[in-house]
Amino acid sequence: MSLLEIKNLHAKVNGNEILKGINLTVNPGEVHSIMGPNGSGKSTLAQVLARRESYEVTDGSITFDGKDLLEMKAEDAACEGLFMAFQYPVEIPGISNAYFLRAALNATRKFRGQDEMDAMDFLPLLKEKMRLLEMDERFLNRPVNEGFSGGEKKRNEIVQMAVLEPKLAVLDETDSGLDIDALKIVSKGVNAMRNKNRSMILVTHYQRLLDYIVPDFVHVLVNGRIVKSGGPELALELEQKGYSWTEGELAGAKR
């Protein structure tokens, strides 16, 4: 059974239709990359998957692990095992990273009928994941994302993903703004989490990320539709020919 099944998805933001009929199937263990120019609807798709309420779905369906994702609130989707790494992680002054993540982990554990974790058990787990992302332990007690550099914020997203161990991770432009060292660290963290059950959707503008996290499938999103799908080689082709090439294809497809 597929983990994620998107059918004919249409979505509006502020009254404008951004997604115009997306179809996508993701099986357990697969890594899909969604590439596209600015304004193509990549981030909208990520936000709809994460169940942001201001993104209005007007048609179509999404099935996640056999359940209707569109019936879920953001927290339900998270508890069911969907994780989105934010393009712009939010700063939350006044709450430490460790406190926040334990609260999040315990919310999902409770949902799954597991015992909540106390601070004694949680800290070693969090420290282990932070080492994986080469984050200093001082970030434990720093307020969530406050005063973090762009790269530190993105690494912190992957730390959260590592702690929450989702079934499906949606990485929304996690590579944007990263220097090559930070990109390698983030990729290493993401690759360490790849396994036969965990699926990932990498939303990105640039092919560069895919040198480090090699996807099974690449989809090109233009103007709210997936206009081309293929293997990793498609990303390279895009890099050489540019998005205008696919826009031409789309124009052809329309006719």
Partner: protein
Amino acid sequence: MITATQAPEKYSEIFDQFNHRATAQPSWLQTLRQEAFARFSETGFPTTHDEDWRFTNVSEVANTPFELAGAETVSKEQLEPFGASQFASQLVFINGLYSEKLSTLAPMPKGVRVASLAAQLRIDPAALEPHFGRYLNYQRDAFCALNTAFAEDGVYVHVPQGVVVEDPIYVLYVTAPGAAPQMNHPRNLIVAEQNSQVTVVEDYVSLGEGTTFSNAATELVAADNANVSHYMIVREGAGANNFSTLRIQQGRSANVSTHSLLLSGALIRNNVHPVLAGEGSECLINGLFMANGRQTMDNYMLVEHASAHCDSRQFYNGILNGQSHGVFHGRIIVHKDAQKTDAKQTNRNLLLSDDAQIDTKPQLEIYADDVKCTHGATIGQFDDNALFYLRSRGLSEASARHLLLLAFANECLDRMSSQPMRDHLEKMVVAALPGAAAFSGERSTEDVERNVEEVG
């Protein structure tokens, strides 16, 4: 309609009766009290025409026939829920009067005096005279005048030169409402001599929901290089009106931190008035107010820079729910000779309902020419991005809101340098936050246990 309220006749009668019971007081205090009452009779209670009272109408307090509260029998068990007994030194006042039976005083370093004002007046009133009534301006404020007129008991702390008192001196003011509306006027004096250090906590609580009027005044003297922390907690019952003035006098390089936590009561007016009189002194004015229902919480800050090279930092956060009304009035006066003043003021407010209201007003009066003064106020609702971020990690909407409120409150709690005090106040804040029950943390089990005990 705004009515000009006068001191009701009633107060004259009560004052006459009070004078009979206070005949043993030293003559300088009797004179001071007479003068203060004369001033109160002259001005009466303030109205909203008065700039300092523009946002808060006190006519209900003015028109209620309060009687002076008397001694009331209270048991230690009744005070247990307030959690003050964890502190080694705990002074308990019932309706403004010291209760020796309920108080515990840990051994103090040599020369430190911690006593009730009444006892000090009996034993050694001369020790009070150099400071008592020297700083609080009853001419300016009718409530201070009334407090001075009825001065009788409160806490007296004197820390000699160079002495450090490690543990907080915790003062619990308990109002036990009677059948008729009652008032009390606690009067405190804290004197920290040169190079000394001390922490004093004032915690105002009620044993009922009846109508009461607590009108406290504290004079805090931090001599040269002294280091003083002051905590003010107001968590009284639904019928409580709590007025307080904290008047701070700072010497050269004295460092004072004040922390206010306003949690409940009908009407709270919290005046904090530091005068940075000695060069190089510093003052932190930190506060958190959380209003609900129809509560009014009015914070009036008056920070006076009277000397050069002084720093003041005001940080007040407000959380307003229901139909509550919050006020932050931040007045800074930089006197002519107070060059190189560095004064900062920040007031941040969260409005959780459509009917909640906040008035925030900075007021800067600068008479020196080489100063740095900044002020800023924000009024907002929940940050949708932050809410979504937390929910996308699995927290329910209620938990996410709770966590964001806690984060907002933590900004204030994090400025408290005493860990036991911070923990003590955090518990109160968490319990008072809207949706506290929805947040499943380790505290929930504690709550369950406590409920079982209460039932058992």
